[in-house]
């Protein structure tokens, strides 16, 4: 996933802590993001995803700890030009309602020094070419979101921050939306996406960062997370009708067995016991008619970390 030639650290957070008057929203965050990565922030509402993104954008500053984006502290207006390389789509994006879609985009384009031609290209790309002359006030949620993506893509940003980008989009639009992001990704952009919809981002994410009450409870690639979580693999074994209980007896205590009925039962075991178990089952002979292996699903992984039995 990471292009080794150009891989370099674009964002680094070191023991970042953020507290408002009476509550801590982020606690001791350490994170290093390499260029070209696609980081997905996962967590409940209020887990600190948006707070984290805002801080990387320099809209807020950490209470303690240090943060660097593209080699500099992003907080406030220190280096304005640095923000040329950023693109941001806020959660429930808001625009100037009285302006038309085209006016909004060209306003932002002027601030970023992008050309009029690029505006038009982006409007067409997100499918707003026909609605460009309408006031944003008349736009639907999906159209706003697409306009939001268009403005985030202005000037081919190196860093793309997308906060819950697909809420309110229908499945077809979602698909299209991710295709657009994929294109940017191919050009080498780094993206940070916060999302609830794990299955949508599963294949795109280079790494997941799971946040819970302002704490990073897990961080890593999907495989790493599965390893950390030590979730059971489930196997459904179908046997000749009537033979189930006899087969279960022959399984011994190697695995926990549930849902036994006349012709099938479920087994669950740990990942590293899986192969030996499968070998054992196949050695039972013809009574075993079928075997379905079900690896742990993403939402099981998610609830594993969210329900507090994960490492913290």
């Amino acid at each position: 996933m990471v292009n080794l030639k150009s891989a370099s650290e674009v964002i680094s957070l070191q023991s970042v802590h953020k507290a408002y008057a009476n509550e801590t929203v982020l606690h001791d965050i350490n994170l290093s993001i390499q260029s070209g990565e696609c980081i997905v922030l996962v967590g409940h509402n209020g887990a600190g995803k948006t707070s984290l993104i805002k801080m990387m954008l320099g809209l807020t500053r950490p209470t303690s700890g240090s943060i660097e984006v593209l080699g500099r502290a992003p907080a406030f207006s220190a280096i304005v030009a640095q923000r040329l390389a950023l693109g941001y789509l806020p959660e429930s994006v808001a625009f100037y309602e009285a302006m038309t879609g085209h006016e909004v985009l060209s306003f932002y384009a002027q601030l970023k020094g992008s050309s009029k031609a690029e505006c038009k290209k982006l409007l067409d790309l997100v499918g707003l070419g026909d609605a460009a002359k309408r006031r944003v006030g008349t736009y639907s949620k999906g159209m706003r979101q697409r306009l939001g993506l268009a403005q985030a893509m202005l000037g081919n940003p190196q860093l793309l921050f997308l906060d819950e980008p697909t809420t309110g989009l229908d499945p077809v639009l979602r698909q299209h939306f991710y295709e657009l992001i994929d294109d940017l990704q191919k050009e080498g952009a780094t993206s940070i996406i916060s999302s609830h919809a794990l299955h949508e981002v599963e294949s795109r994410a280079s790494r997941f960062v799971i946040l819970k009450k302002g704490i990073v409870v897990a961080c890593g690639t999907l495989d790493e997370l599965y390893q950390q979580a030590v979730l059971p693999v489930r196997v459904k074994v179908s046997v000749t009708p009537g033979e189930a209980s006899r087969v279960v007896e022959r399984m011994g205590s190697a695995a926990s067995i549930t849902d036994v009925n006349n012709q099938s039962f479920h087994l669950s075991c740990l990942m590293d016991e899986k192969m030996s178990l499968i070998r054992h089952i196949s050695s039972l002979g013809d009574v075993v008619q079928d075997m379905q292996i079900m690896p742990p699903r993403l939402d099981e992984l998610y609830s594993h970390f969210m329900n507090g039995d994960g490492p913290s």
Binding site: K54, L59, Q82, Y88, A94, A98, M99, Q110
Partner: protein, 275 residues
């Protein structure tokens, strides 16, 4: 500088779009037209030209109206963007925070400039063309237009300060009205009340001049009523400004301070603000 104009043009376009500018032009123009028609009525006795009379009545009304228009333009401009969330997005663009404030200021002052130039300027042109009124004393009229823009800029700046301080738009609206009352009505009432109650003459003329001077609205009044001979004769307060040592530069200087101070405070607060 280009950034400032991009931001300012957005405000101006908003003003045109929501008919704000049109409404202000019509309001100011109708007012100026009505007052200059009235100004043509009295003749002879004080030997004032029509325009001088118009300057007196128009500036006396502008002192209420211009601050109100300016506050209405500005009170919402920061808190509204915080509330809607457009400010958050704007600040992720390569603009500095001071540019956001100054861009808005440039835009809002331009809107006021357009409204005053078209409203007051248009009225006087209509008057001279259609009723053949003389343009004697036009300098005082132009000075009134210019000082009205300065007065407006004062209240635009004050409006930003309100807008950056409060948390909700409704509070900003209320505070802006309160601010208007204080500067336009209450301060003068208190001042004259104190003068009436002041039996021991603790407030001498010098102190009184200073008390008048520190109010931007009073500075505006003095500027327009007493600096031009024709006008001050007609207003019956000939020479009081020069006696009290108030020059045009001093009066404009005071008003400029009232622009710079709130703007600076707004900038400092905005600079620290987390979104």
């Amino acid at each position: 500088m280009k950034m400032l104009w991009v931001l300012a043009l957005k405000e101006i376009r908003d003003g045109l779009r929501n008919r704000w500018i049109a409404a202000a032009i019509i309001l100011l123009g109708a007012l100026a037209l009505a007052l200059s028609l009235l100004g043509s009525a009295p003749t002879g006795s004080v030997k004032a030209s029509d325009l001088d009379i118009t300057v007196i009545s128009l500036s006396s009304l502008s002192v209420y109206l211009i601050p109100l228009i300016a506050l209405m333009l500005s009170f919402d401009s920061l808190v509204g963007e915080f509330e809607r969330g457009t400010m958050m997005l704007l600040l992720t663009y390569p603009v500095a925070r001071w540019q956001v404030i100054m861009g808005k200021f440039l835009g809002h002052v331009s809107i006021l400039f357009i409204a005053i130039a078209a409203g007051y300027g248009g009225a006087i042109i209509i008057m001279t063309v259609f009723s053949g009124g003389s343009l004697d004393g036009w300098q005082a009229y132009v000075a009134m237009m210019m000082s009205s823009i300065v007065l407006g800029a004062v209240f635009i700046a004050l409006g930003y300060l309100v807008s950056v301080l409060v948390k909700e738009r409704a509070t900003a609206a209320g505070t802006a009205i309160g601010l208007w009352l204080v500067f336009v009505v209450i301060y003068d009432l208190l001042l004259f009340g104190a003068l009436l109650l002041d039996k021991d003459q603790l407030i001498n003329q010098q102190l009184f001049s200073v008390l008048m001077l520190i109010s931007p609205t009073d500075s505006y009044r003095i500027f327009n009523l007493s600096l031009f001979e024709g006008v001050s004769n007609a207003a019956g307060i000939a020479g009081i400004a020069s006696e009290a040592g108030m020059s045009a530069a001093l009066l404009l200087g005071v008003m400029s301070l009232w622009i710079v101070a709130p703007l600076l405070m707004t900038l400092v607060i905005f600079q620290r603000r987390e979104l």
